[in-house]
């Protein structure tokens, strides 16, 4: 683009700096937008890796008495798949979305602690690299090159020295501690930013729902990562310094590990899911052309989830042999936390009802999310009934349930978010046709695999088995489930190709391609480093709606 200097003279466009210099800029950046993109790109990379691990497992399980993988390899695969998806995909997606969007949505120039932001990213990345380094350097029962094989929740005493010799389990412990430091840093930063850097006029009550949800998620991260870290340190003490916290052969308690782990682990799944709710709460209103239905109720429900979620952990332990009163308490609490979650679903539907729905790719993903998350929540209610959980826990039914939550729920909203905010981050639209291919392939594949696996659990198939005999009623179901993987992989391939292609050749987006209402759309795409030329001042929760509709602004009704 030519610029005119003094009359008549055309100035040359400054040349792009050399590649090493540009790479260096990314390496040392503290700009929340760049760090957000780095978080999300890395999360997508680990997602592809963990997806390959899953595909390998489904090949092994497609037929009875499979010989594609030996048991030690399979056991490492499910451990690494789960650990990667939770800690190296789900958590960085939260951090990436929050770091990119929160300052923009609250009208700030950056996060409260930009260097802490960078520190968090690099800790996350190094933690991930440390986990996968175990494939090269870990020592275990199967000799050299053993990644952890104790399952992603690493129950004691299987993780004690006596049963997990070598260092593979230590890679699991240390990599999660390291990347957990990253997650905690992000959470602290998000809280500080939201509390202290909102633009003029934006009271807490007027913040976008996305920002509310990120605030609650961050508070949960700060609260629940410590029990996990504490338990892992106790396990290290057991393994190396002669402690016996979880060493049952010396009087320690295996159940204690489970309490510590699930005290973290259950709120963790809400930590994973709430950012998905955050994306849905922004996308659904825009593509319904209506404000979110019941804003106050949505905020209240979010806070209720944040509080109740820390009181239900032992529903992962119904089969452990707790007293009846404990089982009944946790059953009741678990069903109760389903109430605010259900309220959110009802409010999203209420937002769409009476609207003028546009089914662009972000909205397609959010509609599928609503159906799938509804089912996921209901299978969760089924398992909240403790006696029913005695049948369904540790079977493929619960595997199907949590994949419904995390793939059918979280990942669908995250993909919707990618299509929705990619134009803002890069200035170019993702291709809509490829987006629809991605969507339909993923929906079809997801349902082929995970609808089917519910029935394998109902017919008695336990989880984490590397093979099974014929004649148990599981063969056909497993073959069908494995075939679904092909469609899912094809769908994700469409996304990756779409991103690679559109980053350079996508249609130009402009500031506000979706006709949306929150502050990130009030600046250029991509935003300049300083985000806004002039920091905005707001009077309602939809500042751009007020600007576009001065005759009917939100602040008259809120």
């Amino acid at each position: 683009m030519a610029t005119i200097g003094y009359i008549g003279e055309q100035l040359k466009e400054p040349e792009a700096p050399p590649v090493p210099s540009r790479l260096h800029d990314w390496l040392v950046t503290v700009d929340h937008k760049r760090l957000g993109i780095m978080y999300i790109a890395t999360a997508l990379f680990f997602f592809a890796v963990a997806g390959v691990l899953a595909a390998l497992m489904r090949i092994q399980l497609a037929f009875p008495n499979g010989t594609f993988l030996p048991p030690q390899v399979f056991n490492r695969l499910f451990t690494m798949h789960g650990t990667t998806m939770v800690f190296l995909v789900g958590m960085p997606f939260f951090a990436g979305l929050a770091n990119y969007l929160v300052p923009l949505m609250i009208g700030a120039r950056d996060m409260a602690f930009p260097r802490l932001n960078a520190f968090g990213y690099w800790m996350f990345l190094f933690g991930g690299i440390l986990l996968y380094f175990s494939y090269i350097a870990g020592e275990g029962l199967a000799g050299h090159g053993t990644a952890p094989d104790v399952g992603w929740f690493a129950y004691a005493p299987l993780t004690e020295r006596a049963f997990s010799r070598g260092t593979s389990t230590d890679y699991w412990i240390l990599s999660i501690i390291v990347s957990g430091i990253g997650s905690t840093s992000s959470a602290i930063n998000v809280i500080a930013t939201i509390v202290s850097m909102r633009c003029k006029g934006m009271t807490l009550a007027l913040m976008p729902l996305f920002v509310w949800l990120m605030l609650v998620v961050s508070a949960m991260v700060v609260m629940v990562l410590p029990p996990l870290t504490a338990a892992q340190i106790m396990l290290l003490l057991d393994r190396y310094l002669g402690a016996h916290f979880f060493d049952t052969q010396a009087g320690g308690s295996a159940v204690l590990w489970q309490h510590f782990f699930w005290l973290f682990g259950h709120p963790e799944v809400y930590v994973l899911m709430l950012p998905g709710f955050a994306c849905a709460s922004e996308i659904i209103p825009v593509f319904s052309r209506k404000p979110i239905f019941g804003r106050a109720a949505m905020i209240g429900a979010t806070i209720a989830i944040g509080i109740l979620a820390v009181g239900v952990w032992a529903h992962h332990m119904f089969a452990v042999g707790m007293a009846p009163v404990s089982n009944i308490f946790f059953a009741a609490a678990t069903m109760l936390v389903g109430v605010p979650t259900g309220i959110k679903i009802f409010n999203w539907v209420g937002t769409m009802y009476g609207g003028k729905l546009r089914f662009d790719t972000p909205m397609l993903f959010c509609v599928a999310f609503l159906f799938q998350f509804l089912i996921a929540g209901l299978t969760g209610v089924m398992m909240a009934a403790a006696p029913l959980d005695w049948q369904l826990t540790d079977s493929y039914f619960v595997v199907a349930h949590f994949h419904y939550v995390l793939l059918g729920g979280l990942l669908f909203t995250l993909f919707g978010a990618v299509y929705y905010w990619f134009p803002k981050a890069t200035g170019r639209m993702l291709n809509e046709t490829l987006g629809k291919w991605h969507f339909w392939l993923l929906v079809i594949g997801f349902h082929i695999t995970f609808d089917t696996l519910h029935f394998a659990g109902i017919l008695g198939m336990p989880r984490r088995i590397y093979t099974y005999a014929a004649g148990r009623g599981w063969e056909g179901l497993n073959l069908v489930a494995s075939i679904g993987v092909i469609f899912q992989a094809a769908g994700v391939a469409c996304l990756i190709w779409n991103i690679i292609h559109s980053v350079r050749k996508g249609a130009l987006a402009g500031d506000d391609p979706w006709d949306a209402w929150t502050l990130e759309w009030a600046t250029t795409s991509p935003p300049p480093e300083y985000n806004f030329v002039v920091l905005p001042e707001v009077r309602s929760s939809r500042p751009l709606w007020d600007l576009k509709h001065p005759e009917d602004p939100d602040w008259k009704y809120e």
Binding site: Q72, N75, K290, Y353, G354, R463, I465, Y557
Partner: protein, 338 residues
């Protein structure tokens, strides 16, 4: 694992042949054959009905919405900007809470009924001890120790004969799951648990260890063999006897007792008193080897003794490096332990 492939085909035939009674290999939780599983089944009908109703209402509304409120192609006006409705919010908060109350009460009733039952005075009590990757089964009152197969008498409303299980573990966490008989209960070291079953149908029920316990978790299968009182009595009598002293297997017995087999295995009435591995006193009365890894046939027995690692890699019985003569003799001896 060519061996696994080969035996797979013989699998169902062998099970059917080994036991004259019906085999129940498919653990369908909706086909209960004992009271605990049945209580769970009845609760599940209620819970699933409620969940299904919620699904149809909400999914129906969502489907209606996406069809009815689709934007028409040239319509660029914004719809009425509705912010919410307190009345609706209260309604769809109160109704779910009421549903939660009902489901909690139903759940509490079943939890108490199943967990609250204590062993009656003369009831059969069995201790099941989980090991990495097999089940040790001890009938304390009857003085029987066996492995991987839990024999119990059949129960009926007219003549109830429940079996009470005490669940322990020698190493890591395992879980006892035979879906048609009961929900699962974990076997956790240092944390004994209790459960009970009262199977109503004779036959063999298959189950699996349901808590990941290491490399061969997949091959830690469980058999509950439900027998008529008469058959059960015969089985008990046979198990109580010391191991058979078949004179044709004398050489084999001498070889066996001289090798380090006895460090891990017990054969009653001999000097073999190891407790690390399964009790072999009546091993030929069992349907499988390796806790369900392969059917108990002469060829399979030979293959297992020659190299257990080829069949169940990672299991805690090492390849004993027997030469051909030792192998023949040991297999001959073991084959005599009916």
């Amino acid at each position: 694992m060519n061996l696994s492939r080969q035996v797979a085909c013989l699998w169902c035939l062998s099970i059917a042949a080994a036991s004259a009674e019906p085999v129940h290999p498919v653990g369908n939780i909706f086909d209960p054959q004992a009271t605990p599983a049945e209580s769970v089944y009845h609760l599940s009908i209620l819970v699933i009905s409620v969940c299904a109703a919620i699904f149809f209402v909400v999914a129906g509304l969502l489907t209606f919405t996406i069809v009815r409120f689709r934007r028409k192609t040239d319509d660029h006006d914004e719809p009425a900007q509705v912010y919410g409705s307190s009345r609706i919010e209260i309604a769809w908060t109160v109704i779910p809470i009421l549903i939660v109350l009902v489901l909690t009460m139903a759940t509490a009733r079943v939890v108490s009924a199943i967990q609250g039952r204590r062993a009656e005075a003369n009831a059969l009590q069995v201790t099941v001890i989980g090991h990495q990757w097999w089940w040790e089964i001890r009938y304390g009152d009857l003085g029987i120790i066996t492995a991987n197969e839990l024999h119990v008498p059949v129960s009926s409303a007219a003549k109830p004969a429940p079996t009470f299980l005490r669940l322990e573990s020698a190493d890591v966490a395992h879980s006892f799951w035979v879906p048609q008989l009961s929900g699962k209960t974990d076997l956790i070291p240092n944390h004994p648990n209790n459960m009970w079953i009262d199977p109503r149908q004779e036959g063999t029920f298959l189950g699996n260890c349901a808590e990941y316990c290491g490399m061969q978790h997949a091959n830690m299968l469980l058999r509950v063999i439900v027998q008529s009182p008469a058959e059960f009595g015969k089985w008990v009598a046979a198990q109580k006897l010391n191991a058979a002293l078949d004179s044709r297997a004398d050489e084999g017995r001498e070889t066996f007792l001289a090798l380090s087999c006895i460090s891990c295995h017990t054969v009653s009435g001999t000097s073999a008193a190891g407790t690390f591995g399964p009790d072999l006193s009546h091993m030929m009365s069992r349907e499988t080897l390796g806790s369900g890894a392969i059917p108990n046939t002469p060829a399979n027995l030979r293959a297992w003794v020659r190299d257990p690692q080829a069949i169940k890699p990672g299991n805690l019985m090492p390849n004993m490096q027997l030469n051909a003569l030792e192998l023949d003799e040991v297999v001959a001896y073991l084959s005599s332990l009916k």
